[in-house]
């Protein structure tokens, strides 16, 4: 069974600085998707960034980028120029590539990010 592990329950970063959130996962599949979701106190899950496992190039979305190490099964999120609005719970998630009956997301336990002004 696939599992996702986030080993940092809480992280803190100074405004305008850079922070990296860690995620490791376990799967025997070669094709899959990985995601980072942000969950503010409003509870609404917001997709931050996604990575297809077959792509070697790391995904980037504005201030958010990932370091995807397929062999090591590691998928970290880097937030550059941190802003107060980045404060939230961040969840790493895995999804089987072909969807269908295995299209559900498998989440880690989350990392609570605090941003200090």
């Amino acid at each position: 069974a696939q599992t996702v592990t986030q080993s940092q329950p809480e992280m803190s970063v100074q405004e305008a600085e850079t922070v990296t959130l860690s995620c490791t996962y376990d799967t025997s599949e070669s094709d899959y998707y990985l995601f980072w979701y942000k969950q503010p106190p409003s509870r609404q899950m917001i997709l931050v960034i996604r990575q297809e496992a077959y792509k070697q190039q790391n995904a980037t979305e504005n201030r958010f980028s990932v370091n995807f190490q397929k062999a090591a099964k590691s998928f970290s999120l880097k937030i550059s120029d941190s802003q107060l609005g980045d404060a939230a719970m961040y969840f790493c998630a895995y999804r089987f590539y072909y969807g269908g009956s295995q299209g559900n997301l498998i989440f880690g336990k989350g990392t609570k990010l605090s941003v200090k002004p």
Binding site: Y33, R43, M45
Partner: protein, 114 residues
């Protein structure tokens, strides 16, 4: 276009009661997922609908939990004989199709069982 909506936002009930939680997905989205998020945990999969049928209900914890999606749009998660351990945030997500890789989440329903 509206996003995924869920009602009620909060629900407080007593142990042993029956509750219904509603999810209204994005129009045109055929795939619908229910997740349960306990305090301090990540969401856990409960059930997946493709159209009107439950394609995968392997995440439902026991037979007190049941979900329907009769017309392929709105879904209702039903919990019978609620227990205190059912207290959690119940999240609904929809996507264009099951193979589509982005799921759009609703704000969730916080269920508290006293």
């Amino acid at each position: 276009g509206a996003g995924v909506s869920q009602t009620p936002s909060n629900k407080v009930t007593e142990k042993g009661k029956y509750v219904e939680l509603r999810c209204d997905p994005i129009s045109g989205h055929t795939a619908l997922y229910w997740y349960r998020q306990s305090l301090g945990q990540g969401p856990e999969f409960l059930i997946y609908f493709q159209g009107t049928g439950a394609a995968d209900d392997s995440g439902l914890p026991n037979d007190r939990f049941f979900a329907v999606r009769p017309e392929g749009s709105v879904s209702t998660l039903k919990i019978q004989r609620t227990e205190r351990g059912d207290s959690a945030v119940y999240l609904c997500a929809s996507s264009l199709a099951s193979g589509y890789n982005e799921q759009f989440f609703g704000p969730g329903t916080r269920l508290t069982v006293l």
